[in-house]
Amino acid sequence: MVKIPYYPGCAVQTTARNYSISGIAVAKKLGIELVELPKWNCCGVFPSLATDDLMRHLAPIRNLIHVQEMNENGIVQNENRVITFCSMCYHTLKEANLFLKDAEKMEKINTFLEREKEFVGGVKEGYKGGVEALDFLEVLRDIVGYDRITKEVKKPLKGLKVAPYYGCLVLRPREIGIDDPENPTILEDILEALGAEVIDNPNRTQCCGSYHTVDRKDIVAKLTYDNLVYPIRNGAEVIVTCCPLCTFNLDHRQKEARKLRRDLQEIPVMYYTQLMAIAFGLDKQFWGVDLGLHYVDPKPLLKAKNLY
Protein backbone atom coordinates (compact mmCIF):
# COMPACT_ATOMS: atom_id res chain seq x y z
CA MET A 1 0.00 0.00 0.00
CA VAL A 2 1.55 3.31 -0.97
CA LYS A 3 0.56 6.32 1.12
CA ILE A 4 -0.09 9.52 -0.78
CA PRO A 5 -1.44 12.82 0.64
CA TYR A 6 -5.03 13.47 -0.32
CA TYR A 7 -6.73 16.85 -0.61
CA PRO A 8 -10.52 16.38 -0.43
CA GLY A 9 -11.93 19.87 -1.05
CA CYS A 10 -15.34 21.16 0.02
CA ALA A 11 -17.49 19.56 -2.67
CA VAL A 12 -16.53 15.93 -2.11
CA GLN A 13 -17.21 16.42 1.60
CA THR A 14 -20.74 17.71 0.97
CA THR A 15 -22.72 17.54 -2.28
CA ALA A 16 -20.30 15.08 -3.92
CA ARG A 17 -19.72 12.62 -1.09
CA ASN A 18 -20.55 9.84 -3.51
CA TYR A 19 -17.39 10.79 -5.42
CA SER A 20 -14.97 10.60 -2.49
CA ILE A 21 -16.57 7.60 -0.80
CA SER A 22 -16.28 5.54 -3.98
CA GLY A 23 -12.91 7.03 -4.94
CA ILE A 24 -11.19 6.35 -1.64
CA ALA A 25 -12.42 2.74 -1.64
CA VAL A 26 -11.33 2.23 -5.24
CA ALA A 27 -7.89 3.68 -4.51
CA LYS A 28 -7.51 1.33 -1.58
CA LYS A 29 -8.39 -1.64 -3.73
CA LEU A 30 -5.69 -0.52 -6.14
CA GLY A 31 -3.06 -0.30 -3.43
CA ILE A 32 -3.13 3.42 -2.72
CA GLU A 33 -3.91 4.77 0.71
CA LEU A 34 -5.15 8.33 0.44
CA VAL A 35 -3.97 10.16 3.55
CA GLU A 36 -6.14 13.23 4.11
CA LEU A 37 -4.25 16.44 4.82
CA PRO A 38 -4.50 16.93 8.62
CA LYS A 39 -5.47 20.51 7.95
CA TRP A 40 -6.80 22.06 4.78
CA ASN A 41 -8.86 24.94 3.46
CA CYS A 42 -10.95 25.55 0.37
CA CYS A 43 -8.59 25.64 -2.61
CA GLY A 44 -10.21 28.79 -3.94
CA VAL A 45 -11.89 26.82 -6.75
CA PHE A 46 -10.73 29.09 -9.53
CA PRO A 47 -7.25 30.49 -9.61
CA SER A 48 -7.17 34.21 -10.07
CA LEU A 49 -6.26 34.93 -13.67
CA ALA A 50 -5.04 38.41 -12.85
CA THR A 51 -1.29 38.89 -12.80
CA ASP A 52 -1.39 41.15 -9.76
CA ASP A 53 -3.90 39.41 -7.52
CA LEU A 54 -1.65 37.65 -5.04
CA MET A 55 -4.24 37.38 -2.29
CA ARG A 56 -6.40 35.03 -4.32
CA HIS A 57 -3.49 32.64 -4.77
CA LEU A 58 -3.00 32.11 -1.07
CA ALA A 59 -5.64 29.43 -0.62
CA PRO A 60 -4.11 26.73 -2.81
CA ILE A 61 -0.60 27.57 -1.61
CA ARG A 62 -1.62 26.99 2.00
CA ASN A 63 -2.69 23.49 1.03
CA LEU A 64 0.60 22.83 -0.72
CA ILE A 65 2.36 23.94 2.44
CA HIS A 66 0.27 21.45 4.42
CA VAL A 67 1.57 18.67 2.17
CA GLN A 68 5.07 19.92 2.88
CA GLU A 69 4.29 19.75 6.61
CA MET A 70 3.03 16.17 6.31
CA ASN A 71 6.51 15.22 5.16
CA GLU A 72 8.16 17.17 7.94
CA ASN A 73 5.92 15.56 10.54
CA GLY A 74 6.57 12.09 9.18
CA ILE A 75 2.94 11.42 8.23
CA VAL A 76 4.26 10.50 4.80
CA GLN A 77 7.83 9.82 3.74
CA ASN A 78 9.33 11.83 0.94
CA GLU A 79 6.00 12.13 -0.78
CA ASN A 80 5.47 15.39 -2.58
CA ARG A 81 2.44 14.33 -4.55
CA VAL A 82 -1.07 15.28 -3.53
CA ILE A 83 -4.13 13.63 -5.04
CA THR A 84 -7.54 15.20 -5.61
CA PHE A 85 -10.79 13.98 -7.09
CA CYS A 86 -12.39 17.33 -7.88
CA SER A 87 -11.33 18.82 -11.22
CA MET A 88 -11.56 22.33 -9.87
CA CYS A 89 -9.34 21.59 -6.89
CA TYR A 90 -6.87 19.84 -9.15
CA HIS A 91 -6.79 22.76 -11.54
CA THR A 92 -6.28 25.33 -8.81
CA LEU A 93 -3.60 23.42 -6.92
CA LYS A 94 -1.72 22.73 -10.11
CA GLU A 95 -1.96 26.32 -11.27
CA ALA A 96 -0.56 27.59 -7.98
CA ASN A 97 2.74 25.90 -8.76
CA LEU A 98 2.89 27.39 -12.23
CA PHE A 99 2.17 30.79 -10.77
CA LEU A 100 4.97 30.42 -8.24
CA LYS A 101 7.55 29.73 -10.91
CA ASP A 102 7.94 33.48 -10.76
CA ALA A 103 10.47 33.74 -7.92
CA GLU A 104 9.44 37.28 -7.09
CA LYS A 105 5.85 36.20 -6.48
CA MET A 106 6.95 33.25 -4.40
CA GLU A 107 8.99 35.55 -2.23
CA LYS A 108 6.16 38.02 -1.79
CA ILE A 109 3.76 35.29 -0.72
CA ASN A 110 6.26 33.80 1.68
CA THR A 111 6.99 37.20 3.16
CA PHE A 112 3.29 37.67 3.73
CA LEU A 113 3.07 34.28 5.42
CA GLU A 114 6.10 35.01 7.57
CA ARG A 115 4.09 36.89 10.17
CA GLU A 116 1.79 33.93 10.75
CA LYS A 117 4.45 32.29 12.84
CA GLU A 118 3.27 34.53 15.67
CA PHE A 119 -0.23 33.07 15.63
CA VAL A 120 -1.82 29.82 16.74
CA GLY A 121 -2.37 27.56 13.82
CA GLY A 122 -0.48 29.87 11.49
CA VAL A 123 1.83 28.59 8.80
CA LYS A 124 5.20 27.91 10.38
CA GLU A 125 7.29 27.89 7.26
CA GLY A 126 6.84 29.29 3.76
CA TYR A 127 6.33 27.23 0.64
CA LYS A 128 9.48 25.66 -0.72
CA GLY A 129 7.93 24.56 -4.00
CA GLY A 130 7.86 21.15 -5.55
CA VAL A 131 4.56 19.74 -4.34
CA GLU A 132 2.86 18.12 -7.29
CA ALA A 133 -0.92 18.06 -7.64
CA LEU A 134 -2.35 14.96 -9.30
CA ASP A 135 -5.86 14.35 -10.49
CA PHE A 136 -7.04 10.86 -9.55
CA LEU A 137 -7.56 10.13 -13.26
CA GLU A 138 -3.84 10.65 -13.85
CA VAL A 139 -3.10 8.38 -10.94
CA LEU A 140 -5.16 5.64 -12.55
CA ARG A 141 -3.45 6.05 -15.90
CA ASP A 142 0.14 6.66 -14.84
CA ILE A 143 0.61 5.03 -11.45
CA VAL A 144 -1.95 2.23 -11.41
CA GLY A 145 -2.25 1.43 -15.11
CA TYR A 146 -5.30 0.19 -17.01
CA ASP A 147 -4.21 -3.46 -16.84
CA ARG A 148 -4.32 -3.42 -13.10
CA ILE A 149 -7.82 -1.93 -13.25
CA THR A 150 -8.97 -4.72 -15.57
CA LYS A 151 -7.53 -7.24 -13.14
CA GLU A 152 -9.67 -5.93 -10.28
CA VAL A 153 -12.93 -6.14 -12.21
CA LYS A 154 -15.27 -8.70 -10.65
CA LYS A 155 -18.50 -7.62 -12.33
CA PRO A 156 -17.76 -6.30 -15.83
CA LEU A 157 -20.14 -3.52 -16.84
CA LYS A 158 -21.15 -5.48 -19.92
CA GLY A 159 -23.85 -3.86 -21.98
CA LEU A 160 -23.84 -0.64 -19.93
CA LYS A 161 -23.78 2.21 -22.42
CA VAL A 162 -21.72 4.98 -20.92
CA ALA A 163 -20.87 8.39 -22.35
CA PRO A 164 -17.87 10.16 -20.82
CA TYR A 165 -17.92 13.86 -20.02
CA TYR A 166 -14.74 15.71 -19.04
CA GLY A 167 -15.71 19.37 -18.81
CA CYS A 168 -13.01 22.03 -18.90
CA LEU A 169 -10.69 22.23 -15.98
CA VAL A 170 -8.91 18.86 -16.16
CA LEU A 171 -8.12 19.56 -19.81
CA ARG A 172 -7.49 23.24 -20.28
CA PRO A 173 -5.25 25.19 -20.42
CA ARG A 174 -2.81 22.73 -21.92
CA GLU A 175 -0.12 23.30 -19.30
CA ILE A 176 -2.57 22.22 -16.59
CA GLY A 177 -4.56 19.58 -18.48
CA ILE A 178 -4.00 15.89 -17.85
CA ASP A 179 -4.79 14.78 -21.39
CA ASP A 180 -5.13 16.06 -24.94
CA PRO A 181 -7.47 19.07 -24.61
CA GLU A 182 -9.26 18.31 -27.88
CA ASN A 183 -9.21 14.54 -27.83
CA PRO A 184 -8.88 13.11 -24.34
CA THR A 185 -9.09 9.36 -23.77
CA ILE A 186 -8.55 8.67 -20.06
CA LEU A 187 -12.22 8.23 -19.19
CA GLU A 188 -12.83 6.11 -22.28
CA ASP A 189 -9.87 3.90 -21.44
CA ILE A 190 -11.01 3.41 -17.87
CA LEU A 191 -14.57 2.61 -18.94
CA GLU A 192 -13.26 0.06 -21.41
CA ALA A 193 -11.12 -1.51 -18.72
CA LEU A 194 -14.34 -1.90 -16.70
CA GLY A 195 -16.01 -3.68 -19.58
CA ALA A 196 -18.54 -0.93 -20.33
CA GLU A 197 -19.68 0.06 -23.80
CA VAL A 198 -18.30 3.53 -24.46
CA ILE A 199 -20.68 5.83 -26.31
CA ASP A 200 -19.30 8.70 -28.36
CA ASN A 201 -20.05 12.05 -26.78
CA PRO A 202 -19.27 14.96 -29.09
CA ASN A 203 -19.80 17.40 -26.22
CA ARG A 204 -17.51 15.76 -23.71
CA THR A 205 -15.08 18.69 -23.55
CA GLN A 206 -17.66 21.46 -23.67
CA CYS A 207 -18.30 23.63 -20.65
CA CYS A 208 -21.19 22.74 -18.32
CA GLY A 209 -21.90 26.40 -17.57
CA SER A 210 -19.90 26.23 -14.38
CA TYR A 211 -20.60 28.89 -11.74
CA HIS A 212 -23.37 30.47 -13.80
CA THR A 213 -25.51 27.87 -12.10
CA VAL A 214 -25.78 30.32 -9.21
CA ASP A 215 -27.25 33.31 -11.00
CA ARG A 216 -27.81 32.33 -14.66
CA LYS A 217 -29.61 29.02 -14.60
CA ASP A 218 -30.94 29.80 -18.08
CA ILE A 219 -27.43 29.57 -19.55
CA VAL A 220 -26.72 26.33 -17.71
CA ALA A 221 -30.05 24.84 -18.75
CA LYS A 222 -29.24 25.37 -22.42
CA LEU A 223 -25.76 23.87 -22.04
CA THR A 224 -27.07 20.93 -20.05
CA TYR A 225 -29.57 20.26 -22.81
CA ASP A 226 -26.84 20.28 -25.47
CA ASN A 227 -24.40 18.30 -23.38
CA LEU A 228 -26.94 15.54 -22.76
CA VAL A 229 -29.00 15.37 -25.91
CA TYR A 230 -26.16 14.29 -28.24
CA PRO A 231 -24.84 11.42 -26.13
CA ILE A 232 -28.43 10.31 -25.49
CA ARG A 233 -29.09 10.27 -29.24
CA ASN A 234 -25.99 8.14 -29.62
CA GLY A 235 -27.49 5.64 -27.22
CA ALA A 236 -25.97 6.59 -23.85
CA GLU A 237 -27.76 5.31 -20.75
CA VAL A 238 -25.57 7.06 -18.22
CA ILE A 239 -23.14 9.97 -18.30
CA VAL A 240 -19.86 9.62 -16.49
CA THR A 241 -18.15 12.66 -15.01
CA CYS A 242 -15.10 13.67 -12.98
CA CYS A 243 -16.06 17.08 -11.55
CA PRO A 244 -18.63 17.86 -8.83
CA LEU A 245 -19.73 21.09 -10.48
CA CYS A 246 -20.18 19.50 -13.93
CA THR A 247 -22.08 16.73 -12.22
CA PHE A 248 -24.37 19.13 -10.43
CA ASN A 249 -25.12 20.99 -13.66
CA LEU A 250 -25.63 17.87 -15.76
CA ASP A 251 -27.69 16.09 -13.12
CA HIS A 252 -29.65 18.63 -11.06
CA ARG A 253 -30.11 21.15 -13.85
CA GLN A 254 -31.91 18.56 -15.97
CA LYS A 255 -34.96 19.94 -14.24
CA GLU A 256 -34.39 23.36 -15.81
CA ALA A 257 -33.17 21.87 -19.10
CA ARG A 258 -36.36 19.85 -19.42
CA LYS A 259 -38.41 22.96 -18.81
CA LEU A 260 -36.55 24.60 -21.66
CA ARG A 261 -36.88 21.69 -24.10
CA ARG A 262 -39.37 18.98 -23.29
CA ASP A 263 -37.83 16.38 -25.58
CA LEU A 264 -34.90 15.81 -23.22
CA GLN A 265 -35.06 12.42 -21.53
CA GLU A 266 -33.81 12.04 -17.99
CA ILE A 267 -30.45 10.35 -17.74
CA PRO A 268 -28.44 9.46 -14.65
CA VAL A 269 -25.03 11.08 -14.12
CA MET A 270 -22.37 9.22 -12.16
CA TYR A 271 -18.73 9.62 -11.22
CA TYR A 272 -16.33 7.21 -12.87
CA THR A 273 -15.25 6.13 -9.39
CA GLN A 274 -18.79 4.94 -8.67
CA LEU A 275 -18.75 2.71 -11.73
CA MET A 276 -15.33 1.44 -10.70
CA ALA A 277 -16.61 0.56 -7.23
CA ILE A 278 -19.49 -1.35 -8.82
CA ALA A 279 -17.28 -3.18 -11.31
CA PHE A 280 -14.76 -4.04 -8.59
CA GLY A 281 -17.55 -5.68 -6.65
CA LEU A 282 -17.01 -3.42 -3.63
CA ASP A 283 -19.61 -3.28 -0.89
CA LYS A 284 -22.68 -1.19 -1.80
CA GLN A 285 -21.86 1.43 0.81
CA PHE A 286 -18.91 2.43 -1.37
CA TRP A 287 -20.99 3.01 -4.47
CA GLY A 288 -22.43 6.22 -3.12
CA VAL A 289 -25.79 5.67 -4.82
CA ASP A 290 -27.84 5.55 -1.62
CA LEU A 291 -26.92 8.92 -0.16
CA GLY A 292 -29.70 10.90 -1.80
CA LEU A 293 -27.19 12.96 -3.76
CA HIS A 294 -28.31 12.06 -7.29
CA TYR A 295 -31.09 14.06 -8.88
CA VAL A 296 -31.77 11.32 -11.44
CA ASP A 297 -31.56 8.07 -9.52
CA PRO A 298 -29.14 5.65 -11.22
CA LYS A 299 -30.51 2.62 -9.37
CA PRO A 300 -33.28 1.67 -11.83
CA LEU A 301 -30.67 1.52 -14.61
CA LEU A 302 -28.24 -0.46 -12.47
CA LYS A 303 -31.02 -2.87 -11.55
CA ALA A 304 -32.04 -3.28 -15.18
CA LYS A 305 -28.44 -4.20 -15.98
CA ASN A 306 -28.25 -6.64 -13.09
CA LEU A 307 -25.63 -4.53 -11.39
CA TYR A 308 -27.51 -3.48 -8.26
Partner: protein
Protein backbone atom coordinates in the same frame (compact mmCIF):
# COMPACT_ATOMS: atom_id res chain seq x y z
CA UNK B 1 10.81 49.05 45.23
CA UNK B 2 9.08 45.91 43.97
CA UNK B 3 8.66 45.22 40.29
CA UNK B 4 4.97 46.02 40.50
CA UNK B 5 5.56 49.33 42.27
CA UNK B 6 8.19 50.34 39.76
CA UNK B 7 5.81 49.58 36.93
CA UNK B 8 3.22 51.85 38.38
CA UNK B 9 5.73 54.63 39.09
CA UNK B 10 7.08 54.47 35.57
CA UNK B 11 5.02 56.25 33.00
CA UNK B 12 4.47 55.38 29.40
CA UNK B 13 3.33 57.60 26.58
CA UNK B 14 0.19 56.52 24.77
CA UNK B 15 -2.00 58.19 22.15
CA UNK B 16 -5.73 57.83 22.52
CA UNK B 17 -7.33 58.68 19.21
CA UNK B 18 -4.35 60.84 18.40
CA UNK B 19 -4.02 62.64 21.68
CA UNK B 20 -0.96 62.09 23.83
CA UNK B 21 -1.20 61.01 27.47
CA UNK B 22 1.30 59.86 30.04
CA UNK B 23 -0.05 56.94 32.03
CA UNK B 24 1.46 54.57 34.59
CA UNK B 25 3.03 51.51 33.06
CA UNK B 26 1.38 48.21 33.90
CA UNK B 27 -2.19 49.43 33.52
CA UNK B 28 -4.54 47.79 31.09
CA UNK B 29 -5.59 49.89 28.13
CA UNK B 30 -8.99 50.31 29.73
CA UNK B 31 -7.62 51.53 33.04
CA UNK B 32 -5.11 53.73 31.27
CA UNK B 33 -7.91 55.39 29.36
CA UNK B 34 -9.82 55.97 32.55
CA UNK B 35 -6.66 57.35 34.13
CA UNK B 36 -6.44 59.72 31.19
CA UNK B 37 -9.93 60.94 31.97
CA UNK B 38 -12.15 58.90 29.68
CA UNK B 39 -15.38 57.56 31.03
CA UNK B 40 -16.71 54.42 29.41
CA UNK B 41 -20.28 54.57 28.27
CA UNK B 42 -19.69 51.89 25.66
CA UNK B 43 -16.72 49.63 24.94
CA UNK B 44 -16.67 48.21 28.42
CA UNK B 45 -18.61 45.48 30.15
CA UNK B 46 -17.27 42.63 32.22
CA UNK B 47 -13.71 43.97 32.59
CA UNK B 48 -12.64 40.37 32.77
CA UNK B 49 -12.05 39.34 29.16
CA UNK B 50 -15.40 37.59 28.70
CA UNK B 51 -17.96 39.93 27.21
CA UNK B 52 -16.17 41.16 24.10
CA UNK B 53 -17.31 44.76 24.50
CA UNK B 54 -13.88 46.37 24.63
CA UNK B 55 -12.48 45.62 21.15
CA UNK B 56 -9.49 47.83 20.52
CA UNK B 57 -7.04 48.39 17.71
CA UNK B 58 -3.60 49.88 18.07
CA UNK B 59 -0.20 50.33 16.54
CA UNK B 60 3.05 50.80 18.40
CA UNK B 61 5.41 53.56 17.35
CA UNK B 62 8.02 52.34 14.91
CA UNK B 63 6.05 49.22 13.93
CA UNK B 64 3.80 48.91 10.87
CA UNK B 65 1.72 46.12 12.35
CA UNK B 66 -1.88 46.80 13.20
CA UNK B 67 -2.74 44.95 16.35
CA UNK B 68 -6.02 43.96 17.96
CA UNK B 69 -6.73 43.53 21.63
CA UNK B 70 -9.28 43.59 24.40
CA UNK B 71 -8.81 46.85 26.30
CA UNK B 72 -9.52 45.17 29.63
CA UNK B 73 -6.81 42.57 29.06
CA UNK B 74 -3.94 44.21 27.23
CA UNK B 75 -1.34 46.20 29.14
CA UNK B 76 -0.27 49.56 27.75
CA UNK B 77 3.03 49.84 25.98
CA UNK B 78 5.08 52.92 25.33
CA UNK B 79 4.10 54.55 22.05
CA UNK B 80 0.71 52.89 21.54
CA UNK B 81 -1.74 54.59 19.19
CA UNK B 82 -5.10 53.41 20.42
CA UNK B 83 -8.61 53.47 19.07
CA UNK B 84 -11.65 51.51 20.11
CA UNK B 85 -14.27 49.75 18.08
CA UNK B 86 -17.35 49.96 20.25
CA UNK B 87 -19.65 48.29 17.77
CA UNK B 88 -19.33 46.14 14.65
CA UNK B 89 -22.16 46.52 12.19
CA UNK B 90 -23.22 43.01 11.21
CA UNK B 91 -26.22 41.41 9.60
CA UNK B 92 -27.87 38.78 11.73
CA UNK B 93 -30.04 36.45 9.71
CA UNK B 94 -33.07 35.14 11.54
CA UNK B 95 -33.51 31.40 11.84
CA UNK B 96 -35.53 29.06 13.95
CA UNK B 97 -33.20 26.56 15.51
CA UNK B 98 -36.06 24.10 15.89
CA UNK B 99 -36.43 24.00 12.12
CA UNK B 100 -32.72 23.78 11.30
CA UNK B 101 -30.76 20.63 10.91
CA UNK B 102 -26.99 20.41 10.66
CA UNK B 103 -27.06 19.70 6.92
CA UNK B 104 -23.96 20.14 4.77
CA UNK B 105 -25.15 23.47 3.40
CA UNK B 106 -26.68 24.96 6.53
CA UNK B 107 -24.02 27.69 6.80
CA UNK B 108 -24.17 28.58 3.13
CA UNK B 109 -27.90 28.90 3.43
CA UNK B 110 -27.75 31.65 6.03
CA UNK B 111 -24.29 33.07 5.37
CA UNK B 112 -23.60 32.49 1.66
CA UNK B 113 -20.79 35.06 1.83
CA UNK B 114 -18.55 32.52 3.57
CA UNK B 115 -17.94 31.24 0.04
CA UNK B 116 -15.98 34.47 -0.48
CA UNK B 117 -13.28 33.57 2.03
CA UNK B 118 -9.86 33.79 0.38
CA UNK B 119 -8.00 32.04 3.20
CA UNK B 120 -5.93 35.12 3.93
CA UNK B 121 -5.98 34.33 7.67
CA UNK B 122 -6.43 38.01 8.55
CA UNK B 123 -9.24 37.06 10.93
CA UNK B 124 -6.98 34.69 12.86
CA UNK B 125 -4.41 37.43 13.18
CA UNK B 126 -7.09 39.77 14.49
CA UNK B 127 -8.56 37.48 17.12
CA UNK B 128 -7.62 38.55 20.68
CA UNK B 129 -8.78 35.14 21.90
CA UNK B 130 -6.13 33.38 19.80
CA UNK B 131 -8.71 31.37 17.90
CA UNK B 132 -8.07 29.82 14.51
CA UNK B 133 -10.81 31.86 12.94
CA UNK B 134 -9.94 31.12 9.32
CA UNK B 135 -10.05 27.43 10.07
CA UNK B 136 -13.52 27.64 11.55
CA UNK B 137 -14.81 29.71 8.63
CA UNK B 138 -13.35 27.09 6.31
CA UNK B 139 -14.91 24.26 8.31
CA UNK B 140 -18.27 26.05 7.97
CA UNK B 141 -17.82 26.14 4.21
CA UNK B 142 -17.71 22.37 4.18
CA UNK B 143 -20.55 22.01 6.64
CA UNK B 144 -18.44 20.63 9.48
CA UNK B 145 -20.38 22.23 12.33
CA UNK B 146 -18.70 20.20 15.06
CA UNK B 147 -15.30 21.48 14.01
CA UNK B 148 -16.63 25.05 13.87
CA UNK B 149 -18.11 24.69 17.33
CA UNK B 150 -14.97 23.31 18.87
CA UNK B 151 -12.60 25.78 17.19
CA UNK B 152 -14.79 28.74 18.13
CA UNK B 153 -15.65 27.70 21.67
CA UNK B 154 -13.83 30.67 23.23
CA UNK B 155 -15.21 33.29 20.86
CA UNK B 156 -16.57 36.28 22.74
CA UNK B 157 -18.01 38.02 19.70
CA UNK B 158 -15.79 41.08 20.03
CA UNK B 159 -16.20 41.59 16.28
CA UNK B 160 -12.56 42.31 15.48
CA UNK B 161 -12.30 39.55 12.89
CA UNK B 162 -15.33 40.90 11.06
CA UNK B 163 -13.85 44.39 10.85
CA UNK B 164 -10.73 43.01 9.19
CA UNK B 165 -12.07 40.39 6.78
CA UNK B 166 -11.51 41.44 3.16
CA UNK B 167 -14.37 39.19 2.12
CA UNK B 168 -16.70 41.01 4.51
CA UNK B 169 -17.59 37.85 6.38
CA UNK B 170 -18.85 37.98 9.97
CA UNK B 171 -17.14 34.92 11.43
CA UNK B 172 -18.55 35.11 14.95
CA UNK B 173 -22.19 34.86 13.87
CA UNK B 174 -21.37 31.74 11.89
CA UNK B 175 -19.62 30.33 14.92
CA UNK B 176 -22.68 31.07 17.03
CA UNK B 177 -24.91 29.11 14.67
CA UNK B 178 -22.46 26.20 14.81
CA UNK B 179 -22.41 26.13 18.59
CA UNK B 180 -26.18 26.31 18.70
CA UNK B 181 -26.42 23.33 16.37
CA UNK B 182 -23.82 21.57 18.45
CA UNK B 183 -25.78 22.21 21.61
CA UNK B 184 -28.97 20.95 20.04
CA UNK B 185 -27.69 17.90 18.20
CA UNK B 186 -24.50 16.70 19.84
CA UNK B 187 -24.21 17.78 23.46
CA UNK B 188 -25.76 15.33 25.86
CA UNK B 189 -28.82 16.73 27.59
CA UNK B 190 -28.22 17.84 31.19
CA UNK B 191 -30.60 15.66 33.21
CA UNK B 192 -30.54 17.78 36.35
CA UNK B 193 -31.68 20.86 34.43
CA UNK B 194 -34.62 18.98 32.99
CA UNK B 195 -35.55 17.69 36.43
CA UNK B 196 -35.34 21.15 37.95
CA UNK B 197 -37.54 22.56 35.19
CA UNK B 198 -40.12 19.90 35.97
CA UNK B 199 -39.96 20.81 39.64
CA UNK B 200 -40.49 24.47 38.84
CA UNK B 201 -43.39 23.70 36.55
CA UNK B 202 -45.01 21.47 39.11
CA UNK B 203 -45.08 24.46 41.49
CA UNK B 204 -42.54 23.22 44.00
CA UNK B 205 -41.00 26.68 44.42
CA UNK B 206 -44.13 28.80 44.06
CA UNK B 207 -44.30 29.59 47.73
CA UNK B 208 -40.68 30.72 47.99
CA UNK B 209 -40.91 32.80 44.85
CA UNK B 210 -44.04 34.49 46.15
CA UNK B 211 -42.21 35.25 49.39
CA UNK B 212 -39.41 36.93 47.47
CA UNK B 213 -41.87 38.95 45.43
CA UNK B 214 -43.43 40.28 48.57
CA UNK B 215 -40.08 41.34 50.04
CA UNK B 216 -39.09 45.00 49.97
CA UNK B 217 -36.12 46.29 48.00
CA UNK B 218 -33.81 46.83 50.94
CA UNK B 219 -34.37 43.35 52.39
CA UNK B 220 -33.98 41.89 48.96
CA UNK B 221 -30.58 43.54 48.61
CA UNK B 222 -29.52 42.15 51.92
CA UNK B 223 -30.61 38.65 50.99
CA UNK B 224 -28.71 39.01 47.75
CA UNK B 225 -25.52 40.07 49.43
CA UNK B 226 -25.69 37.26 51.94
CA UNK B 227 -26.44 34.60 49.36
CA UNK B 228 -24.35 31.47 49.19
CA UNK B 229 -21.68 31.56 46.51
CA UNK B 230 -19.87 28.51 45.25
CA UNK B 231 -16.19 28.70 46.16
CA UNK B 232 -14.02 29.61 43.16
Amino acid sequence: MTEAEREIKEKVRIYIMGREYKVPAGLTIMKAMEYAGYRFIRSSGCRGGFCGACATIYRVKGDYKLRMALACQETVEDGMYISQIPFTPAEKPIYNLEELSPSANVFLEYYPEIAKCVSCNTCTKACPQDLEVMDYVQAALRGDFQEVASLSFDCIACGLCATRCPAEIVPYNIALLARRLYGKYVMPKAKHVEERIKEIESGKFNEEIQKLMDTGLRDLKEIYEKREIEPE
